[in-house]
């Protein structure tokens, strides 16, 4: 059937084209219809390679569907649908077009059956998404977007280099298991790693996402890192190195998230933390672990989107996003508050919420394979997530001290988008079998066994208890330091604590280093440009022909000399 051959990205690109030339209700209607039509279409698509052609000496497969890519395809459609509804009120054509193209590129990347197609969409992801950052039209966002773009394009170039080596080593470009042997494997690994926000390469994410527009961040949080997770799951399952990288990713952002004031940046850190769980799952590589990674990616797109949407709603309605400026919003934004709490509950893996049914798969897999230390790190990370995303986000935005801001609930389209996401979070939490049936492997995993539910409830119950207790004692800040739980508002009240000092020192050193480097770079460039101007000045004024002839003589002499000594 000819319909099958239409790759999912095509509809989105067509949608972007239409969105560029239409306005108002018509555009809104088309933008909402595109993901629905595309999702219905995708639902009918069987597994297999649906589009391929020869290019140079290789067989390219721009459209290959199997369980793994279909799973990501579905969730990208859901994410695009929700985010589009969320951004219906936006009148900025550039943002709407960029968002459609970006969603399409994400879909193109997960259905790419060869490295070249993957590379094309990899770069398209970068070029389309940067407009969502620039759309805020501030100096800050322009600079942050530029940094983001440079890193993303660099990742693409490394991917291309890897693909070239891969083609030279294996004579094929098909995108399957790659593994870490050979230079090609490492190059591609690094390219994926940059996009996946591996530690040390994660700064683009926390730097750029909070600078994007309210709606842009919702799109951004769904696609880029998940494409990278997909790529890792396809190319490097069972690579042990990933377990350690992933474990580091789950833990280190917690410290940053705790002391961060910008609530969207807190979410950006927690995004890295969640991606860490997935990376660990891919690294373990057993059927259960891969299932865990993939299903967690699926859930994360939805609940992280929900959290970003609720914070976006706060930013949209109040114009503020710093935890210290907010508080007490539950009185006037009750619906947003409830929806945000659903997202927080999901990310913290409460039973009956979506995070619960996927996160523990990875942890169980870690235990099964004997990675006890990793399991402990993941446990710590889970508590950390609950701490900064589950409690800090809703608490500082909607409760805490009354900031005096009296903003109402956001426009209906935003509420509807959040409602859909929240509904999905709960639905998946209650009826996980629907999600499990989409997974690449059939492991018969049941999240609702007694130990799991009990252990998780205990963890959460005691955390919640501690939180309630602290909240009641909140008016006696000096005594709170004795508690074992490091709630970040303690740091703010008991400002400055040792930890923050340490980080501020690190940051200062980091800033100084970076500035020193930038100054050197500027000097270097200035020197080069002066040099260049000097040279061209030399050419254009002072005995030009003579200097050229001199070069001719030099080259001739060299050639003659070299051929005679031979």
């Amino acid at each position: 059937m000819w319909m099958i051959e239409i790759p999912p990205f095509a509809l989105f690109f067509i949608g972007a084209l239409i969105a560029a030339v239409t306005r108002g209700t018509l555009r809104s209607a088309i933008m909402v219809l595109i993901p629905i039509a595309s999702a219905l279409h995708l639902w009918t698509v069987p597994e297999g390679v649906h589009l391929q052609f020869a290019f140079l000496d290789y067989q390219l497969m721009p459209y290959r569907a199997d369980k793994l890519s279909l799973m990501f395809g579905y969730v990208f459609h859901i994410a695009a649908f929700i985010a589009i509804i969320y951004s219906l009120h936006v009148r900025d054509t550039m943002q709407q077009v960029a968002a459609m193209l970006y969603a399409g590129s994400g879909l193109g990347a997960v259905f790419a059956g060869d490295l070249l197609t993957l590379f094309v969409f990899w770069e398209l992801l970068a070029f389309t998404s940067v407009f969502l950052i620039w759309a805020r039209r501030t100096r800050r966002s322009y600079v942050a977007g530029m940094r983001y773009l440079i890193i993303q394009v660099l990742s693409g170039v490394i991917l291309l280099a890897g693909a070239l080596f891969y083609a030279a080593e294996n004579g094929t470009l098909a995108f399957g298991f790659i593994g870490l042997d050979g230079i090609a494997g490492w190059l591609i690994f690094i390219a994926f790693g940059i996009k996946c926000a591996f530690p040390m390469a994660h700064n683009w994410l926390t730097d750029a996402y909070p600078e994007a527009t309210v709606t842009g961040t919702v799109f951004l949080s769904a696609f880029t890192t998940k494409v990278a997770v997909y790529a890792l799951a396809r190319g490097y399952p069972g690579t042990e190195l990933l377990i350690y990288i992933g474990a580091a990713m789950t833990c280190f952002p917690i410290f940053f998230a705790v002391i961060e004031n910008d609530l969207r940046r807190v979410l950006a850190y927690s995004l890295i933390n969640q991606v860490g769980f997935m990376v660990v799952g891919i690294g373990i590589g057993t059927a259960l672990a891969i299932n865990g990674a993939v299903s967690h990616a699926f859930n994360d797109v939805i609940f992280k989107g929900l959290l970003f949407m609720s914070m976006g709603a706060v930013l949209h309605m109040t114009g503020r996003i710093n935890g210290s400026d907010l508080g007490g919003l539950y009185k006037t934004m009750p619906k947003t508050t409830v929806l945000c709490i659903v997202g927080a509950a999901s990310i913290s893996a409460f039973p009956l919420f979506s995070g619960f049914v996927s996160k523990s798969m990875v942890m169980s897999a870690a235990l099964e394979e004997g990675f006890d230390w990793i399991w402990l790190m993941l446990l710590f990370a889970s508590a950390g997530v609950f701490h900064h995303a589950g409690i800090k986000i809703p608490y500082f935005a909607f409760f805490a001290h009354d900031s005096g801001v009296r903003a109402s609930d956001p426009p209906n389209n935003m509420l509807l988008a959040m409602l859909i996401a929240a509904g999905l979070c709960i639905a998946i939490g209650i009826y996980p079998a629907a999600l499990y049936s989409l997974l690449p492997y059939d492991t018969g995993y049941n999240p609702y066994d007694a130990t799991h539910v009990l252990a998780q409830t205990q963890l959460l119950f005691f955390s919640a208890l501690a939180f309630v207790w602290l909240n009641l004692r909140g008016m006696y800040p000096p005594e709170l330091r004795s508690t074992n739980l490091d709630f970040d508002w303690i740091y703010r009240r008991a400002f400055p604590t040792a930890l923050q000092n340490m980080f501020s020192v690190i940051w200062k050193a980091d800033l100084a280093l970076r500035q020193a480097f930038l100054i050197r770079l500027d000097l270097c460039l200035a020197f080069l440009s002066r040099r260049n101007e000097g040279v061209s000045g030399l050419i254009s004024r002072i005995y030009p022909a003579g200097s050229m002839v001199m070069w001719v003589a030099v080259i001739l002499a060299t050639y003659l000399f070299l051929s005679f000594i031979h």
Binding site: F55, L56, L116, F119, V120, E123, V153, V157, L160, A161, L164, F165, A167, A168, I183, L528, S529, N532, E533, V535, S536, I539, S540, P544, A545, S547, M548, V549, W551, V552, I555, L556, Y559, L560, L562, S563, F564, H566
Partner: protein, 493 residues
């Protein structure tokens, strides 16, 4: 008739040139030149088709046997080059009439077309002939007319740039002549095929070494290999815009052809790459060319200068491909010849359109052009993407093969450097994009309109060719593969 095609290819434009004098009206002259160039293109298509099906064509001039008489020899390589030259010439000529209205005084229009046709004939002759001395003659024909064409530029510096080019070009041609003279002295023949058989007997004499060095330096000067490139930026920047497009896409390509012809066919592979450490020399010079010229391009204020420097960088890529001296490497060079001709002619034609509308191509004048001349600027963007080597454009195909060739040879640091060089291209192309699309239009520039159709049609023909041959690579890959294999003496002769 069909049997005489090799000579017709050269003689038609050459004879047409003086005929232009009889046509009085510039418009008629333009039409005539366009038809002649189109005819040359048609002939080259038929020739390529013949060569691809039945191998090299040998044509003896005046019926004299080869070593004594002059012989025209069209093999896959020369047929490919003939196609590139005549195709670019025809497409570029299409816009010539409009473009020179504002750049050249009307009384010199006829002169312009005469010189143009002579230059075309000279370049076709270099590629078609199988005689070493004939090469020199045609080289002089094409070069002399090119000097005069450049001097026609409206900027007063054009005269001086042409004079510089004249000196350097003459030195280059003289070097080539000295080299040819020396090998003639040693072998007593000027026929290339004959030379290739006789040279091995005297290969170990100093005279032949010297001849080789002279020819290589002469050719390198002509192809503007770094650091012998100094004449090129000004010559391109101050020439009439049409001539820039024409020369940028053809002149250096012909020089690359000569390099390949002399090293592979005349002196032979083993001699060429063992007498001189040519591999390492060319890799170093090619890479330094890529980096020096790309960096220089970033700092240019005149967009013609910018793309001229980028041309030098692109020549660096071709030289690196050449120095790999494997079939894949040579293929990459030949592909890039073709592809670079497509992108640079598109880019320089678009610049000609900008020149026509706003009278200059300083980068600062590009502010806001993205809205005022959307089609022209879109062409520059696509051409720029092709220059960078983005997939779906021709630039990607040749870079791909180049890097593949380099990796096959195990030179992976070179592969990394080539990729880094592409990043420099991103920077200089981005400067244009940023100025044209992200800066507000200059005050008083509201009246600027999109370029006329006589520009847009050829520009977009080239731009679409840039994309088409980036996706459907059958023609370019097949021809270059056969050409490269036949030069290495494998596959069909």
């Amino acid at each position: 008739m069909l049997a005489h095609l090799p000579i017709l290819q050269v003689i038609v434009p050459m004879m047409a040139a003086p005929l232009c004098l009889f046509l009085t009206r510039p418009r008629l002259v333009w039409l005539f030149a366009l038809i002649v160039s189109g005819l040359a293109f048609l002939i080259s298509c038929i020739l390529l088709q013949q060569v691809m099906t039945s191998g090299a064509i040998i044509y003896e001039l005046g019926g004299w046997d080869a070593p004594w008489g002059i012989e025209y020899r069209i093999d896959q390589l020369s047929a490919f080059l003939l196609l590139i030259i005549s195709a670019v010439s025809t497409v570029v000529l299409f816009a010539a009439h409009t473009s020179i209205q504002k750049e050249i005084p009307v009384d010199r229009h006829t002169l312009f077309y005469i010189l143009y046709l002579l230059s075309l004939a000279g370049m076709l002759g270099i590629v078609a002939t199988g005689d070493a001395f004939n090469v020199f003659v045609f080289l002089e024909i094409s070069s002399l007319s090119a000097y005069a064409l450049i001097a026609l530029g409206k900027d007063r510096r054009a005269l001086w740039a042409a004079y510089q080019y004249l000196i350097m070009g003459t030195i280059g041609a003289t070097f080539i002549l000295i080299g040819i003279g020396l090998i003639y002295q040693m072998t007593g023949t000027l026929n290339m095929n004959d030379l290739s058989m006789r040279l091995p007997e005297v290969a170990h004499t100093r005279t032949v070494f010297t001849a080789f060095a002279f020819i290589i330096v002469g050719v390198c000067l002509k192809l503007a290999l770094f650091p012998l490139h100094l004449w090129l930026p000004n010559a391109y920047a101050y020439a009439p815009s049409i001539i820039t497009a024409f020369l940028a896409a053809t002149a250096t390509k012909v020089a690359i052809y000569l390099l390949i012809r002399f090293t592979f066919s005349v002196f032979g592979l083993s001699f060429s790459f063992t007498t001189l450490p040519l591999q390492i020399l060319f890799v170093v010079l090619g890479l330094s060319g890529i980096f020096a010229a790309s960096t220089a391009a970033i700092y240019q204020k005149n967009v013609k200068h910018l793309f001229a420097y980028s041309s030098i960088a692109q020549i660096g890529y071709m030289i690196v491909g050449f120095s790999v001296s494997t079939t894949t490497g040579l293929m990459a060079t030949l592909l890039h010849l073709f592809n670079h001709a497509l992108m640079k002619s598109a880019l320089f034609l678009a610049l000609a359109a900008v020149m026509y509308r706003i009278g200059g191509v300083q980068l600062s004048q590009f502010q806001g052009l993205g809205r005022q001349m959307p089609l022209t600027m879109a062409a520059i963007v696509i051409g720029g993407l092709s220059l960078i080597g983005v997939p779906l454009t021709v630039g990607f195909v040749s870079k791909w093969y180049l890097i593949l060739a380099v990796i096959e040879n195990g030179w992976w640091p070179v592969a990394v450097l080539i990729l880094l060089g592409s990043l420099l291209a991103v920077v200089y192309v981005w400067r244009i994009v940023e100025t044209a699309y992200f800066k507000p239009p200059l005050a008083g520039s509201e009246a600027i309109k999109e370029a006329p159709l006589s520009f847009l049609v050829p520009i977009w023909v080239l731009v679409i060719a840039n994309i088409y041959f980036g996706i459907d690579t059958r023609l370019s890959i097949q021809v270059t593969q056969v050409a490269a294999q036949s030069l290495f003496g494998v596959g069909p002769p």
